[in-house]
């Protein structure tokens, strides 16, 4: 059964073992030299051609079974997807070609860039030996080819990243390192670059003695010879080539104190941070093993923290590579959550993702979803249920927003059958998705896996995962047959089959709704209470008219909180408008003081004076546990919402109520919000959100608002010293008459004590919410601005165990939030006049403060330069909102290579937004230069992604930048990134956003005649490329490579030494 599916993959051989041997590494030349040996078992009778993947490599020679200099050809069509002289500049043809080329080298289609021709006599020899050996056995699986390929990699653009500091100090030399950047194995060694071709691995790396090598597998040998050290790793658990990871550098390392199997590596000088950051890693490992009732199949697990990786976390078989920025000292509080969830995710991949892999890109969602599912179960355990539910809700909102505003997410990345279906750059093969799309799709995948879990039950879900793990484990045994290795990868189909055999449930309908099709429903609900019949009449509508919506048919949980308690009912959505009658369990009662039972089992007293005496319903919730990916709009009276916010213990419900209460600015709402803000048993995120909503309410009631904001008085009460002592001293010292000189303000913020993280988060975030307050002139009240300045002035951290870096940066953000452009009437260009006269005092004060903090952060840096980042953002706001003519060079200054990457990213994002608002040609040019040439590839990607979010113009908008120069620039960028698929995909998406799929409008319409001729011609070319006769092609290509390879390799090796 599984073999049958394997047959869908049209590869004509099976790879059982691969040896990767890197004999030389040169940091100065940025190159690798080595060879790889593949053990190949043919599956077909007349096996004469081996196709492998290899890009940006120089192949010196191929040896098969000892036969040297076997004929081969090397053809990488992806390099020439675009040509400069192609005048069309439309995405349709580009996408068509890209798709075709990617099929042309797709290992799952039996293709590859490297074609090796097995010599005729070798074929015969092998066949003879096999037939003589097993005359009776017609099985061809005994035939084995050992293919050895000598290769080198020079100045790679992607695949492997060399980090080489440009100065020559000792520390810089120690910090040089290289690492694999992603899962494109073909970019650094010849292989079968497919997720469903697991093999065992031997990895041998020879480096200078001072360097450490970390690679997938178990270190079995380490020999030193002539100042060169050879590390030999063996990976007995079969893994596909994309999950082979490698990192070389003089790392410092720590072995986990709890389990010897976990080792952590980091760059020189960061050992204390590494110890602190990774001290918990054994926890998720133990948790997963307990949860799945199966042990991790890799003998060990290594975490390497490197600089400038292409993604924050890249999991490989038995190792993971992280960004060095995830490391944090014990004094920083907020870095913990993110770093831990990233590491938990990488560890979850050791079970689902890297160990059990996807069969093809169509099953990407399943593995991604499973890994995220496991990781989120761990975070639920580590950070609590509230945090877990909060994250779920946020992910769901992100997914819905993406589907509504950007592109529909179809998790099943099935290849498009007909090319005319390309309506969107993300509607294509798995390797061609943009990062933003993949990010949103991953979130959706997680939610879908969670829906499956809900559908079949947690226990059964764990049994299924355990079963998958057990099956896969049998494939790792020493005497397991090669065909059993297909258990190491799963697909949507095989997964649903396992589900249906273990349970009686069929998840096919669920998959159809959420995986094979895109869109998510939007539900609009309201209810009325009929007193006569004592029923709730609930009406649910589905809005299918908006973008990205999809009708949902299925069951939905309704939870009604009545006076007598909480009652859940499941209803079936059958049509786009459905009415339900829910029987009410409570009688209307009057003035009876009785406690009201809640779903949590608590009984509470409620103030029911506001309540409609005719109706026993307190509030109604639809789908309270996020079982469906949906957008919800539910109408109930403000009283219901207030009740829900105040008494419901589920944070999602509270968030819903908060969102709804924004629409009901009233005195009652104000009081309710104040109470919730104050109640210490509420989840801190609810309280923070409460502060924001309170500000929102205050702003919409600005004309009638009296008194100070509850948030402000709350903050004063909780975080500031009481002023009782002060007033007494004021009385006593007033005679000396110097009170006026030194009189401190009424309250002073207490010296920082962040030992309670929840209170810390509240203290940190509430000033930001307060800063959004506006009085009836639509400006921030001076009281608030003074309050913020006092917080900054009196901030005292010397007695605190924790760093106040993020607190300070948050206060600066808060200052930025106070800025408004109201009252800024003059548009003077005279800088002097502006700064000294027109600008109001508070803005000027903020400006001064920002400069001071920015300068000071340079002298004593905060963790991750977070203060600098905040300052830059506020500086940009001062420019945009208040009109202070900030020199653009300031942002260039912070965007240069050599600054910390988060600072650079912030500066670049500001520059991108600058382009969006001011359409500055120079800045646009600068950003394009960064994308094209910067050393930090991660930054390049982030810039392109940010450009996609904030494009200077969208399709058909008029803009001074919407001109042929921009088109050519972007086009040539797309052309140049032929190796780095991710950035190319992002650029393509940007191109689509700015110019659409067809020929950009600002280009003159191409001559119809020549256009059609050209089109046909090019189509012919690409057609012929696909089925070109490889032997014919190879003859002239061979001439380039068939040299004396030994000499070339020796020469390279000697230059390294």
């Amino acid at each position: 059964m599984e073999l049958e599916e394997l047959r869908q993959v049209t590869r004509s051989f099976v790879l059982s073992h691969q040896t990767l041997c890197i004999t030389g590494v040169s940091f100065d030349k940025r190159c690798l030299v080595g060879y790889t040996e593949l053990t190949i078992h043919p599956l077909v009778k007349n096996f004469n051609v081996i196709k492998l993947n290899a890009r940006q490599l120089t192949i010196y020679a191929v040896t098969i079974n000892g036969e040297r200099n076997v004929e081969f050809s090397y053809d990488d069509p992806n390099i020439q997807i675009l040509s400069d002289d192609d005048p069309r500049r439309d995405l349709q043809s580009f996408l068509k070609r890209q798709q075709r080329f990617s099929e042309y080298v797709d290992p799952d289609e039996g293709n590859g860039e490297l074609t090796i021709f097995i010599p005729l006599h070798l074929q015969k020899q092998v066949q003879n030996s096999s037939t003589t050996d097993n005359v009776n056995n017609s099985n061809t699986s005994e035939i084995v080819y050992k293919v050895t390929i000598d290769f080198s990699l020079e100045k790679p653009e992607s695949g492997i990243h060399f980090f080489i500091p440009d100065d020559d100090t000792k520390l810089s030399r120690l910090s040089r390192h290289l690492f694999t950047t992603g899962h494109d194995a073909r970019l650094w060694f010849p292989c079968v670059d497919s997720y469903c071709e697991p093999a065992t691995w031997t990895i041998e790396v020879t480096v200078e003695e001072s360097l450490t090598v970390v690679a997938s597998g178990e270190l079995i040998e380490c020999t030193t010879n002539n100042e060169l050290k050879t590390y030999r790793f063996y990976l007995s658990t079969p893994a596909p080539a994309p999950f082979i990871g490698l990192a070389i550098g003089s790392f410092e390392s720590v072995v986990d104190s709890n389990t010897q199997e976990i080792a952590n590596y980091c760059l020189h000088g960061l050992l204390t941070l590494l110890t602190n950051t990774t001290s918990f890693v054994h926890e998720p490992l133990e948790y997963y093993e307990e949860l799945l009732n199966a042990s991790c199949q890799y003998p060990n697990y290594k975490q390497v923290f490197v600089t400038e990786p292409y993604a924050e976390c890249v999991p490989f078989a038995s190792m993971a590579i992280f960004n060095v920025n995830l490391l944090y000292p014990s004094t920083v509080i907020e870095a913990t959550w993110h770093a831990r969830s990233q590491m938990a995710f990488a560890l979850a991949n050791q079970f689902f993702g890297c160990f059990i892999t996807m069969r093809s890109w169509r099953d990407w969602w399943l593995l991604k979803g499973l890994a995220l599912y496991l990781a989120s179960l761990y975070t639920k355990r580590a950070f609590g249920n509230n945090e877990y539910r909060y994250n779920l809700n946020r992910d769901m909102l992100d997914v819905i927003r993406y589907e509504r505003e950007e592109n529909p997410i179809r998790l099943d990345f099935a290849p498009i059958k007909s090319e005319s279906d390309i309506t969107n750059v993300n509607n294509r093969r798995g390797t061609m998705m943009s990062s933003q799309y993949l990010e949103a799709a991953a979130k959706k995948a997680h939610l879908v896996v969670r829906m499956i879990d809900d559908f079949i039950g947690r226990e059964i879900m764990m049994q299924i995962l355990n079963k998958l793990m057990c099956l896969a484990t049998t494939a790792c045994l020493k005497d397991a047959s090669l065909s059993s290795r297909s258990r190491l990868h799963i697909s949507s189909k095989s997964f649903s089959r396992v589900v249906s055999t273990l349970t009686t449930k069929d998840i096919q309908a669920l998959l159809t709704q959420w995986v094979y099709e895109s869109g998510c429903p939007r539900l609009i609900g309201s209810f009325t209470f009929s007193r006569k019949r004592n029923v709730v009449e609930l009406e649910l509508k589905q809005d299918t008219t908006i973008k990205g919506s999809k009708k949902f048919l299925g069951s939905l949980v309704i939870r009604v909180q009545e006076l007598e308690g909480s009652f859940s009912q499941t209803i079936l959505l059958e049509d786009s408008v459905t009415k339900y009658e829910l029987t009410c369990h409570s009688k209307v009662r009057r003035n009876k003081k009785k406690k009201i039972p809640l779903i949590s089992g608590d009984e509470v007293d409620m103030d029911l004076n506001q309540m409609d005496p005719e109706c026993p319903i307190l509030w109604i919730r639809i789908d309270p546990d996020l079982k469906v990916i949906r957008e919800l709009q539910f109408e109930q009276a403000d009283y219901n919402w207030q009740c829900e916010l105040r008494y419901e213990r589920d944070i999602l419900s509270q968030f819903e109520a908060l969102e709804a209460l924004k629409r009901y600015p009233s005195q009652n709402t104000r009081e309710t919000l104040g109470t919730v803000l104050d109640s210490s048993h509420c989840f801190y995120r609810v309280r923070i959100e409460c502060a924001h909503v309170l500000t929102h309410i205050a702003n919409s009631m600005a004309n009638t608002w009296t008194g100070t904001l509850a948030t402000l008085s709350f903050f004063r009460r909780v975080f500031m010293s009481t002023n009782s002592t002060l007033t007494s001293t004021n009385v006593t010292t007033s005679s000396t008459n110097n009170v006026s000189l030194t009189a401190p303000s009424a309250n002073i913020v207490r010296i920082n004590d962040f030992s309670n993280p929840q209170m810390y988060m509240i203290q940190k975030t509430i000033p930001q919410a307060i800063a959004f307050q506006r009085n009836k002139d639509r400006v921030c009240p001076p009281e608030v601005i003074n309050f913020l300045f006092e917080l900054i002035h009196y901030n005292e951290n010397s007695k605190n165990r924790f760093s106040d870096a993020f607190y300070r940066s948050s206060l600066i953000d808060a200052l930025g939030n106070t800025l408004t452009n109201v009252g800024l009437t003059s548009t003077t260009t005279n800088v002097d006049l502006l700064l000294n006269h027109t600008l109001d005092n508070n803005t000027k004060r903020i400006f001064d403060e920002i400069l001071l903090q920015l300068n000071f952060d340079k002298i004593i840096p905060s963790y991750g330069f977070c203060v600098t980042c905040s300052c830059l953002k506020v500086l940009h706001k001062l420019y945009i909102i208040s009109g202070i003519p900030i020199d653009i060079n300031v942002f260039y200054e912070y965007a240069t290579y050599g600054m910390f990457d988060r600072v650079r990213l912030t500066a670049c994002e500001i520059l991108v937004e600058q382009i969006e608002t001011r359409m500055n040609q120079d800045v646009f040019e600068y950003i394009f230069n960064l994308i094209a040439n910067d050393h930090d590839y991660n930054l390049r990607r982030k810039i392109v992604q940010h450009l996609c979010r904030h494009p200077p113009f969208r399709q058909n908008q008029t803009c001074s930048l919407n001109n042929p120069i921009t088109i050519h620039r972007l086009w040539s960028l797309m052309k140049n990134f032929s190796y780095d698929n991710h950035i190319r995909n992002d650029l393509v998406e940007l191109y689509q956003i700015m110019f659409g799929l067809s020929r950009p409008n600002c280009l003159p319409p191409a001559n119809e005649m020549t256009d059609s001729i050209l089109k046909d011609e090019l189509d012919d070319v690409s057609d012929t490329i696909v089925d070109i006769d490889p032997e014919r092609l190879s003859y002239f290509r061979l001439a380039r490579y068939a040299d004396d390879t030994k000499a070339a390799a020796n020469k390279l090796a000697s230059t390294i030494k």
């Binding site: 401190p744 007695k799 005279n830 002097d832 003519p885």
Partner: protein, 249 residues
């Protein structure tokens, strides 16, 4: 007189005129009259000098010679012989040469023994015999009242602490701005508004080091203790690591 009293040359001029007035037998003169004379003589002299200058320039010279003066006087209708007569008149009164003004040195702060030795001798009253040892430095026995506010209630302490910290920040930034290269924040379009500067960034080959290693917590004792603890842990762990490495080999 008060307008002139700041400039020593004006004072000299006034005095010399007073001497001349006295020469002619006036012992007393009214203030206004004296000022009138002062102004007139001032104007005459200025006129004279202007003429001298013009003559000099006409003859393209840069330094005047006696002939220029003579010609100028002639132009101003001054009869040279009468001048001669005045010249011959005996001079009774002479102007006192002006007082030598001593340069005032700013008070030296933080005086140490050398200078105080002299002053302490001055402090020694006459009735103390010579053979007795000298007084110690005056600061050791003279107490002066201070007016610093020593009341230490909580808000005041916090206030001064915050002020100190802010002052430190500001002065550090100011110092750095003066010693390092700087860039202007304001795009001034040629006009020079230059109160707003940023310290120029120094790019580092390993920027992550300064960003990630904690630097704002150096003064806290508790963190130091913690770091010691973690350092001990680390050394322990690295030991165990090397042990496993050996084992594996």
């Amino acid at each position: 007189m008060d307008t002139n009293c700041d400039n020593p040359f004006d004072i000299l001029f006034e005095r010399s005129l007073a001497v001349i007035v006295r020469e002619y037998g006036f012992d007393n003169i009214e203030f206004s009259a004296y000022h009138q004379i002062l102004d007139i003589s001032n104007t005459i002299l200025r006129r004279l000098l202007l003429n001298v200058k013009n003559f000099m320039e006409v003859q393209s010279r840069t330094e005047p010679c006696p002939a220029d003066v003579a010609r100028s006087l002639q132009i101003m209708n001054v009869k040279l012989p009468s001048l001669q007569q005045t010249f011959n008149h005996p001079i009774k009164h002479r102007l006192r040469s002006p007082d030598r003004q001593s340069e005032t040195h700013p008070m030296k702060l933080f005086r140490v023994t050398q200078t105080t030795n002299n002053s302490s001798r001055k402090h020694r009253p006459i009735y103390i015999p010579d053979f007795l040892p000298e007084f110690p430095d005056p600061h050791t026995f003279i107490s002066s009242e201070t007016y610093a506010d020593l009341r230490k209630d909580y808000p005041r302490v916090r206030h001064s602490l915050a002020d100190q910290r802010r002052a430190l920040q500001r002065s550090l930034v100011k110092f750095k701005l003066q010693t390092n290269e700087k860039i202007s924040v304001i795009n001034s379009h040629g006009t020079n508004i230059n109160d707003y500067y940023l310290i120029k960034n120094t790019t580092s080959p390993l920027p992550y080091l300064s960003a990630l290693l904690p630097q704002d917590q150096m003064d806290s004792e508790s963190t130091e203790a913690m770091e010691d603890e973690t350092a001990a842990n680390i050394s322990h762990r690295t030991k165990s690591l090397s042990a496993t490495d050996d084992g594996e080999m």
